[in-house]
């Protein structure tokens, strides 16, 4: 309890620093999510109809997944230098695989007879995609977004290592000073943010669900 009290005191003394870091953290995470969605969603939809290419693309992105996020950050270092921008790129890349794979799997998972019914009724390819396949893939896609957003929010903490800012700054500072309460000032909000994002997308999914009986 003492720890939390000390953490709170530290927060009270460094409010502007804290809110600045929080803003940076949010900006970094949400930019990374938006950019990766803008890229991974269309690619996922595009490869869903091209099974040959799909396997290659998925393997490439899965390879990124195996590399730990910290490693991605440091690998980016020599090429992109320090700061916000390389952090953003690293986090964007991190968010790719769940979004891409879930989009692909969601669209592939639509029953063949449903597509056949749609095509047989005279829908164009674009209509089948926009009216049938994507809406039916939404649960899978949103699950991918949910996983990615939690990963990105947690990993954004590491941006601090390469000068990207964010709540990780408290953790690195606490670490350097061997001061646990300072670390908590960074760690607790990150955990809360991750949880909030997780619940937001879960709620979204529940609202989207087709009613049964």
């Amino acid at each position: 309890m003492d720890l939390f009290l000390k953490a709170f005191e530290y927060y009270m003394d460094n409010q502007s620093f804290f809110w600045n870091a929080t803003r940076q953290h949010l900006v970094l995470s949400s930019f990374a999510m938006v950019i990766s969605l803008l890229i991974a969603l269309p690619i996922g939809i595009w490869i869903a109809k091209r099974t040959g290419i799909a396997q290659v693309v998925i393997n490439v992105f899965n390879a990124f997944r195996v590399v730990p996020s910290l490693a991605i950050l440091f690998l980016a270092l020599p090429y992109l230098g320090l700061g916000f921008f390389p952090s953003l790129i690293a986090l964007t890349v991190l968010a790719f695989p769940p979004v891409l794979i879930n989009t692909y799997a969601g669209i592939r998972g639509v029953d063949a007879f449903i597509i056949e019914a749609a095509v047989g009724m005279g829908m164009t390819k674009t209509q089948v995609m926009s009216k049938i396949e994507i809406p039916l893939a939404i649960p899978a896609i949103v699950t991918g977004i949910r996983i990615a957003s939690v990963e990105v929010i947690s990993s954004a903490t590491l941006a601090s290592f390469i000068g990207g800012g964010g709540l990780g700054d408290f953790i690195t500072r606490g670490f350097a000073l061997y001061d646990v309460p300072i670390m908590l000032v960074g760690a607790i909000p990150v955990a809360l943010l991750a949880l909030t994002s997780e619940s937001f997308w879960s709620l979204f999914l529940r609202r989207y669900q087709i009613p049964e009986n």
């Binding site: 007879f113 449903i114 749609a118 005279g122 039916l136 009613p211 049964e212 009986n213």
Partner: protein, 349 residues
């Protein structure tokens, strides 16, 4: 010019069935790349507008392939298909599909859309006005016997039979001349299947659509069909009315199908209406329904009475000799014995 117009309009009054529902296959063949044998082999057949025609044959004989070539889900390798006098490739493919109703075994209702949305898909694709769509929806729900309160529901909230009714309504939504149905009742339980079959017969007599209905179920085919196309290994074996198939089977395959040695089965396949229709064509009885006299029709003591009726009907006689294995005549048994047995109160054991 004027005369032509008058005569053509008079014609439409006389023949309420629009000729645009006619389907003609000419030497249609299709071999899938993965197979060495053709899935559909040189099929030529003319389906009159307004008929309910059943494609019948064992699984894998090419029924679905033939059906899907009509709405161009498959393309034939060779041959041509016309609907209403137009070769199907002269139309843009989606335009063609929007004027052909399509019902499949798995129903294929869109699970994320309400019943209302599902049914109104083709009218919307065709750009109908809201008012026209809503009127049509109401009329269709009445036609398939479901309450309008079902419209805001989702497919998953309906039973299998109800879903297939909605599938039918969806296929009929834009009032197509032609309906393609691929084993639509195969996944429905027996009781509901029979109900759906009756409803389809009813619907067909009301709407006068050309219906091409695929099944591998002989009973279903004979129940529904005005005419049956029997297929085997991609080839058309025989095309005729149920009565014709039973009385004039083209070959052993058809005989087998209709129950060559079991006249009761044959009788069960044909309904009274077929007889009434055939009677209009007087020559039918004299030329085609003559009993085939089997010179050696005899009964054996161990024959059950069902086969006795069958043999009596086949022989065209009122009674038949009963002989034992040594060919000794044991007596005569005939219709009168059976009738007496059935109406007399048998002594209870």
């Amino acid at each position: 010019m004027t005369i032509e117009m008058i005569s053509s309009s008079a014609e439409t009054i006389e023949t309420p069935v629009s000729e645009s529902g006619e389907i003609v296959f000419e030497h249609v063949s299709k071999t899938f790349a993965t197979n060495s044998y053709p899935a559909v082999d040189q099929v030529s057949v003319r389906i009159t507008a307004g008929d309910l025609v059943v494609l019948l044959g064992p699984s894998g004989c090419g029924k679905t392939t033939l059906l899907k070539m009509v709405n161009r889900l498959y393309e034939p390798d060779r041959g041509k298909i016309w609907i209403g006098g137009k070769e199907i490739h002269t139309l843009p493919v989606n335009e063609l599909r929007r004027q052909i109703g399509y019902v499949i075994q798995q129903v294929g209702l869109f699970p994320h859309m309400t019943i209302q949305k599902n049914i109104s898909i083709v009218p919307r694709l065709l750009g109908w006005e809201e008012k026209r769509i809503n009127d049509r929806l109401e009329m269709l729900m009445q036609l398939i016997g479901l309450p309008v309160s079902y419209l805001p529901r989702y497919p998953r909230q309906l039973s299998g039979g109800e879903q297939q009714r909605v599938g039918l309504a969806r296929a009929l939504a834009a009032d197509p001349e032609i309906l393609l149905m691929d084993e639509p009742f195969a996944a429905v339980d027996a009781i509901n299947r029979e109900r759906l079959q009756t409803e389809l017969i009813d619907l067909h007599s009301k709407l006068n659509k050309t219906i091409l209905f695929v099944t591998h179920d002989v009973e279903e085919a004979f129940r529904l069909a005005k005419k049956i196309i029997v297929m085997r290994a991609g080839k058309l074996v025989q095309y005729g009315s149920p009565l014709e198939l039973v009385t004039q089977p083209e070959n052993e395959f058809i005989e087998e199908l209709v129950g060559s040695n079991n006249i009761l089965r044959k009788l069960s396949l044909v309904n009274v209406n077929s007889i009434l229709k055939a009677r209009e064509n007087q020559s039918f009885y004299t030329s085609k329904f003559q009993p085939v006299e089997k010179p050696s029709t005899v009964l054996h003591p161990e024959d059950d009475l069902r086969s006795v009726i069958s043999l009596l009907l086949c022989s065209g006689k009122d009674s038949l000799p009963v002989k034992d294995s040594e060919d000794q005549l044991l007596g005569m048994v005939g219709y009168s014995d059976l009738r007496e047995m059935l109406i007399s109160n048998l002594p209870s054991e």
